[in-house]
């Protein structure tokens, strides 16, 4: 029986299994974006505290400017200066600002119709509470101190107080590129099968699973056999010896490389497994590594073990005779 409230169903409660492993996963990249003529013009004007829109096919002035007309798809290039004050067309309240938003204390998001524009721009309005903003309210740009970053040159809007700040008269450097950082945060979960495998590794054991239909043994085990589409179930403990099925010699240095080239990246097929995984083969000259070579895991010291295949530092040759080609031909 599932509990009535399905919001947080405990796997342990449902299946009696231990919870899958999970860990934070951070994904981030600073995108650099070439602006092209329309966005470049907008960003360049912003950098000297001016705002321009672009006239659409129907005569509407779009702010921010758009490259192509939304109705006719005609390229647009008639720039029109607009004011730095405007009117709130709509707003919503942001009680707990999220990372990256223009203000980090409670604020209003608003669609602001700048004087001289026909389409509103989306931005933040710095007011203390939802009682301090209303549709129809007059607002003005608060300029960022550091400019040259596109739309973020507008720090936010604020209630209008009179005359807008004068633009810079100096001819600015054209802004042709912006940097837009994207940083996302996840909690990544391993599957129940992967979790058993990772917990096994932490104890120095290599745990695969057998597909109930085709009988193949997968390590790491998977939520579904890729041939039959059914979950693998029967746990199979595998030895730490195997065969090199194929390999390459790494000669190229790259950022973050931990081993000085040349060294060998190889697919190792553990004895009893039906799928090879990628690992390092060290302990002999790179030129001596070959298909069919017999290898054994070189484990790191036990105190360094974690929930990772990196507990095996590398594989090294056992000195046994090579495995015959037929024994791994189906795993290439």
């Amino acid at each position: 029986m599932l509990p009535q409230n399905r919001e947080h169903v405990s796997l342990q409660f449902v299946t009696g299994l231990s919870e899958p492993l999970s860990a934070p996963l951070e994904v981030g990249f600073d995108y650099t974006r070439s602006l092209g003529p329309v966005h470049s013009r907008f960003a360049t004007e912003l950098s000297r505290r001016r705002i321009v829109g672009v006239r659409g096919s129907d005569g509407r002035v779009h702010v921010p400017p758009i490259e192509y007309d939304p109705d006719t798809a005609a390229p647009l290039d008639e720039f029109v200066p607009v004011g730095s004050q405007g009117t709130v067309v709509s707003w919503s309240w942001m009680p707990e600002p999220l990372e990256g938003q223009p203000l980090q204390h409670p604020f209003a998001w608003a669609l602001v119709l700048l004087d001289g524009a026909d389409t509103p721009v989306l931005h933040a309005v710095d007011v203390g509470s939802p009682e301090d903003i209303r549709t129809g309210m007059r607002v003005q740009v608060r300029w960022a101190e550091q400019r040259g970053g596109g739309i973020r040159d507008i720090a936010c809007f604020e209630p209008a107080t009179g005359t807008p700040a004068a633009p810079d008269e100096a001819e600015p450097e054209p802004v042709t590129m912006i940097t837009a950082p994207v940083h996302l945060h996840y909690q990544h979960s391993a599957s129940p099968e992967e979790s058993r495998y990772l917990r096994g590794l932490a104890e120095g054991r290599l745990l695969g699973q057998r597909c109930p239909q085709c009988g193949k043994v997968y390590i790491p085990p998977r939520g579904a056999c890729p041939t039959d589409g059914v979950p693998t179930e029967e746990e199979v403990e595998l030895p730490d010896t195997g065969t090199v099925t194929t390999f390459c010699i790494v000669n190229v240095p790259f950022l973050g490389q931990r081993i000085t080239p040349p060294y060998v990246s190889a697919y190792v097929l553990l004895d009893g497994a039906d799928i090879a995984f990628l690992h390092l083969v060290l302990g002999c000259d790179a030129a001596d590594v070959r298909m069919g070579m017999r290898v054994r895991a070189q484990w790191k010291p036990r105190e360094e073990w974690g929930y990772t295949l990196q507990n095996i530092d590398h594989f090294r040759p056992t000195g046994e005779p090579d495995a015959p080609f037929e024994s791994y031909a189906q795993h290439l």
Binding site: P70, L98, L122, H185
Partner: protein
């Protein structure tokens, strides 16, 4: 060109968070087995596989590739993927059958929204030059759209709460939210993003859905009462939020007109916010006699990249069960109803 019908539908329970992986395998394996058992098909009978999901939701590149494990993709299969709601994957599969290239297709969508921060992730759907750098979140943008209607008198907060109350009351057994609530009680709740309250916003949901399509001859073999697709159209609006008419949904209107909606008895609408259901009803021109979201709809569970496909499956189920003759399903993608798909289906004796 070949007529196409829906002959099978299944979906995973809608839940706030699963322990599963972001590749969706744990959610997909049981519903593939359910829908294949229901149609009597095996994986080798399926002519084309098409899925909808998002790497941004998963935080992994090519995350949909791992989901292919759930199919049992050996020998190699005919497969495709869209980085949109799987309703658009269904469109691709429909075209594939219409052209005569295949006669069956299995379409699936999945999303584990709980892995990341959905409100922020969806900001990346926005214009990357002038809007996304501000990180406006999905709920705030919906709030701006809602207030436009409130200020103009197009709808009231009572209208919005009534949508939520009706949805919660009709939610099915796999729904994340359900229950009998009074509009007055909903309106007494605080705002989460003024003018939106909790009941105005679809919950964050992990889930998956699958639909099986078949061409005319196969459809009659596979189901005694297939849901025949009589119209399937999608349209989109400008990526510039300010340039759009947010009070109406011109792309939905255009898709509905092209699809032909006369005589529909019920509609499953993919409106993740209460006011958007009002926008959609008006854009399609649905009368008061048309039953809306008998499944409870996305306000009772909104698995990203599967909820639009689930609308098609839910509406089709009511034709296949004989409960309805002619039905409409709608799917949306992008901020504030930017892209819209309308699918009209009917039973035939």
């Amino acid at each position: 060109m070949a007529d196409v019908a829906v002959v099978g539908f299944a979906q995973a329970p809608n839940v706030r968070a699963t322990h599963g992986t972001t590749n969706g395998v744990e959610m997909l394996v049981p519903i593939f087995q359910e829908v294949l058992a229901g149609t009597g098909l095996s994986t080798s009978d399926i002519g084309f596989w098409c899925s909808g999901s998002s790497d941004y939701l998963a935080g992994r590149a090519f995350s949909f590739i791992a989901a292919v494990d759930a199919i049992g993709a050996f020998p190699p299969i005919n497969e495709s993927h869209v980085e949109m709601d799987a309703a658009w994957a269904l469109y691709e599969a429909w075209v594939k059958i219409r052209t005569g290239e295949v006669d069956t297709a299995l379409v699936y969508g999945f999303g584990k929204s709980s892995a990341g921060d959905l409100r922020r992730t969806l900001a990346l759907q926005l214009d990357p030059y002038t809007t996304a750098p501000l990180w406006p979140d999905s709920v705030s943008i919906a709030g701006l759209q809602a207030r436009l209607g409130l200020d103009s008198g197009a709808w009231t907060e009572e209208d919005m709460a009534a949508v939520a109350a009706r949805s919660l009351a009709s939610a099915g057994p796999g729904a994340q939210r359900s229950g009998k609530v009074e509009v007055a009680d909903l309106l007494a709740e605080p705002y989460v993003a003024d003018p939106l309250r909790k009941h105005d916003c679809a919950p964050i949901t992990d889930g998956a859905a699958v639909v099986v399509l078949a061409g005319a001859d196969r459809a009659r073999e596979l189901h005694e009462r297939p849901a025949w697709i009589t119209g399937l159209e999608h349209r989109l609006e400008s990526g510039s939020l300010g340039a759009r008419d947010l009070l109406r949904s011109p792309s939905t209107t255009a898709a509905a007109r092209a699809a032909g909606t006369d005589g529909v008895e019920l509609a499953e609408l993919h409106a993740p916010f209460t006011h958007q259901e009002i926008v959609l009803r008006r854009a399609i021109g649905l009368g008061d006699d048309v039953e809306i979201n008998p499944s409870g709809g996305p306000l009772c569970g909104n698995p990203m990249f599967a909820a639009g496909l689930a609308r098609i499956g839910e509406a089709a189920s009511r034709v296949m069960s004989g409960a309805a003759e002619r039905v409409l399903a709608h799917a949306t993608s992008g901020p504030a109803l930017q892209q819209n798909l309308v699918c009209v289906m009917e039973g035939r004796s």
